[in-house]
């Protein structure tokens, strides 16, 4: 499969517009508030789509498609029991404290509510995490382009060897994201996220349509795949009867409560989008507006994974220049084998069975169905998803760095112009560090796995801290800090003492001993989160009772019982957060029932 001039034109039109948005916004950025908070002037629907799109990075498009091919429609639990309830909660209950307090970032809320050390812990771990996730996003994109040999021909005609493609992709994507954030700050990132959102939908919708038509619709999928792949709840009574290897309790508690609420309610990457809204009502509506397309996203990102698995073998269409298809295996469809990068040989598991490269499910499907023209659009949609994920991390990084690390610990009383300058420098620095992280990923794949694990430990207990901070005025700073610390420790301990079935001790767990074996990696992850959350919750309460609480007057606007309820009388009833929340929850319930 080679790209034609038309495909390149489509791609360059997109690059032109994302950069153009940055240039057009440059003259509107005058203060640090414009740069870091988009002047708090963005309408709700734009914030909502950006809220969704910032999370729609590589992990989402590639990862959810891969999970779809691996686990089936049960992957939609990440949306229907994971994301949506958490998004409703953050909009209705938590946004009043984020938007209504003087906080400019999530770590800053922790300083206002608790103390400096709790903020420092959160700010530093969050800043590191954003740099590494945007690095991983870049790495994933460059590797994908390399593996699919997409750019080989045009680069060859320019006299550039295929070994440079990885570097060129990393540098080019970094420069584009750098340019538009440097110029227009958060507004530019948000506007481009909206553009990227529409582009992702425009690129993937025809893919799902063609794929479904080819396999005979949902009915055809049901016939082609095992029963467990087309039911999200059936078989969840016991880990052995569903492809996820989890049971309903750990799914609801681990994924639905701890992990999803931890991410959607406390991660500044998404919360920052809502905090840029032009009013309290708009800020509260942001996650609710985002929830409506979000609940339909499984059809856009998970379904292609299932389709790739069910596509009937066709002799006429060559599977592109990718790799050998795994067609010999039952239910392997279009999914290619995993190939070792150095030797070019097919990877095999312990039993000698070839492993499948699920991450290629969606890209291969794209190459399978899309002729030139719309292929350019589909690939641009992929690039757009990588860039929006990266930009989300970079804008969150430059804000937390400037407000919560630089202004807090390095230079306290500088002019606003200085912090604006620092924000731009932090953008350059953050992206440079991400590029380095992308290269670290190529060299030491294990180090990245370990780092991601450490961040998972840091994040797992976080929601307990926010829950107690916002809804229990007795919670103290010492309690919060020790709770977070021991929660993180509990996560590490649990991970070190347990192992998923079939894995060997190491990054997967069991590096301290072996107390319990889980049926799957997912089950282990969920239980790690449950343990961390519970320990943090209990320790925070115990330590809080032993330490002196802050005066009520200091906590006004930061704690539920000491804050006036946001007034929504001026908003028409159908736009009020509560109305939207009910609609969103009913629709989600309906989806769960339909795909039971």
């Amino acid at each position: 499969m080679t790209l034609t001039l038309l495909d390149w034109l489509v791609m360059f039109v997109y690059f032109g517009f994302v950069l153009g948005v940055g240039f057009a916004l440059k003259r509107h950025v005058k203060t640090s508030k414009d740069f870091f908070q988009a002047g708090r002037s963005i309408p709700a629907w734009i914030c909502g789509l950006a809220f969704l799109s910032a999370n729609l990075g590589a992990q989402e498009i590639i990862g959810m498609g891969a999970s779809g091919a691996k686990y089936g429609i049960a992957t939609s639990h990440f949306y229907w029991i994971g994301a949506i309830p958490a998004m409703v909660f953050v909009g209705i209950f938590m946004m009043p404290f984020y938007y209504g307090s003087r906080a400019r970032s999530v770590p800053e809320y922790l300083r206002l509510r608790f103390d400096e050390k709790t903020r420092g812990f959160n700010a530093i771990s969050f800043a590191l995490m954003t740099v590494f996730s945007s690095g991983i996003s870049m790495y994933a994109m460059a590797r994908l382009i390399q593996v699919l040999h997409l750019f080989d021909n045009p680069f060859q005609s320019l006299g550039i060897g295929p070994q440079y493609i990885f570097h060129i992709c990393v540098i080019a994507s970094a420069l584009i994201v750098l340019a538009y954030i440097f110029l227009g700050g958060l507004t530019s990132a948000i506007y481009n996220e909206v553009l990227q959102f529409f582009l992702i939908v425009a690129g993937f919708l025809p893919l799902v349509y063609l794929g479904l038509k080819n396999v005979g619709g949902w009915k055809g999928l049901q016939q082609a795949l095992p029963v467990s792949f087309t039911h999200s709840w059936k078989g969840l009574g016991d880990p052995s009867t569903n492809p996820l290897g989890v049971e309903a309790f750990s799914l609801a508690m681990g994924l639905g409560f701890v992990l999803s609420f931890g991410y959607w309610c406390t991660d500044f990457l998404v919360v920052q989008r809502a905090m840029a809204a032009d009013s309290m009502s708009a800020a509260r509506r942001t996650p609710l507006i985002a929830a409506i397309p979000k609940m339909l996203f499984p059809f856009l990102v998970v379904l292609p994974g299932l389709i790739a698995l069910a596509v009937p073998p066709q002799a006429t269409v060559p599977p592109s220049a990718v790799v050998e298809k795994a067609g010999a295996q039952p239910h392997a469809g279009l999914i290619p084998y995993k190939v070792e990068e150095t030797t070019g040989r097919i990877k095999r598991d312990k039993n000698g069975k070839p492993e499948l490269d699920y991450d290629l499910a969606v890209p291969v499907l794209l190459l399978h169905y899309f002729p030139t023209g719309i292929l350019g659009l589909g690939l641009t949609a992929l690039l757009a998803s990588f860039m929006s994920g990266m930009a989300g991390n970079v804008t969150a990084f430059n804000t937390v760095w400037t407000y919560d690390i630089y202004q807090a610990y390095i230079k306290k009383n500088a002019t606003d112009a200085h912090y604006l300058w620092m924000g731009r420098m932090a953008t350059v620095f953050g992206i440079t560090a991400s590029v380095l992280a992308a290269y670290v990923a190529t060299q030491f794949n294990n180090i990245m796995d370990i780092l991601q694990l450490v961040f998972a430990f840091v994040n797992a207990p976080l929601f307990a801290t926010f829950l107690l901070g916002m809804f229990w005025k007795r919670a103290t700073g010492h309690g919060a800090f020790l709770g977070l610390f021991s929660g993180t420790l509990a996560a590490a301990l649990h991970h070190g003492l347990t192992l998923p079935a079939g894995a060997s001790p190491g990054v997967k767990g069991g590096w301290m001993g072996m107390l319990h074996a889980y049926p799957s990696e997912m089950a282990q992850n969920f239980w790690t989160a449950i343990f961390a959350w519970t320990v943090c919750f209990v320790v925070t309460i115990l330590v809080s009772f032993l330490t002196t609480p802050r005066k009520d007057s200091e906590l006004a606007g930061l704690v539920y019982s000491l804050t006036d309820r946001p007034r929504e009388e001026t908003t028409p009833w159908y736009l009020r957060p509560a109305t939207l929340a009910i609609i969103v929850l009913c629709m989600t319930l309906l989806l769960n029932i339909v795909f039971y």
Binding site: L6, L9, V10, V13, Y14, F17, G20, V21, A24, L25, R27, H28, K30, T31, K33, D34, A38, G39, R40, S41, I42, I46, Y99, G100, T187, Y191, V194, L195, F198, A202, P206, L210, K213, N214, D278, S279, M280, S281, A283, T316, V317, H368, Y369, F370, P371, T372, G373, I374, L377, P566, T570
Partner: protein, 81 residues
């Protein structure tokens, strides 16, 4: 904030739609074997052009009553305070 995002997005989809639909009309038709025989460029290009027209209509309609100097950043009152 100075720029109505619907206008650039509308413009971009207009250009993309015309590229796709134009190729669908004039270009090589043998490429559609992949897409189950459907001229997907023409179909989807037309959809994108319609979407673009909708965004451009909404964006320009709202701009007219607001003509005049752009509001100062941060000058809008916040209902939440």
């Amino acid at each position: 904030m100075g720029l109505d995002i619907r206008l650039p997005i509308g413009l971009m989809f207009g250009i993309l739609g015309m590229l796709l639909a134009g190729y669908g009309l004039l270009g090589d038709r043998s490429v559609y074997e992949r897409s189950l025989g459907m001229n997907i460029n023409l179909i989807w290009g037309t959809v994108l052009i319609l979407f673009s027209a909708l965004l451009l209509f909404l964006g320009s309609r709202k701009a007219r009553p607001r003509a005049g100097p752009a509001p100062q950043p941060g000058a809008r009152p916040r209902r939440g305070d």
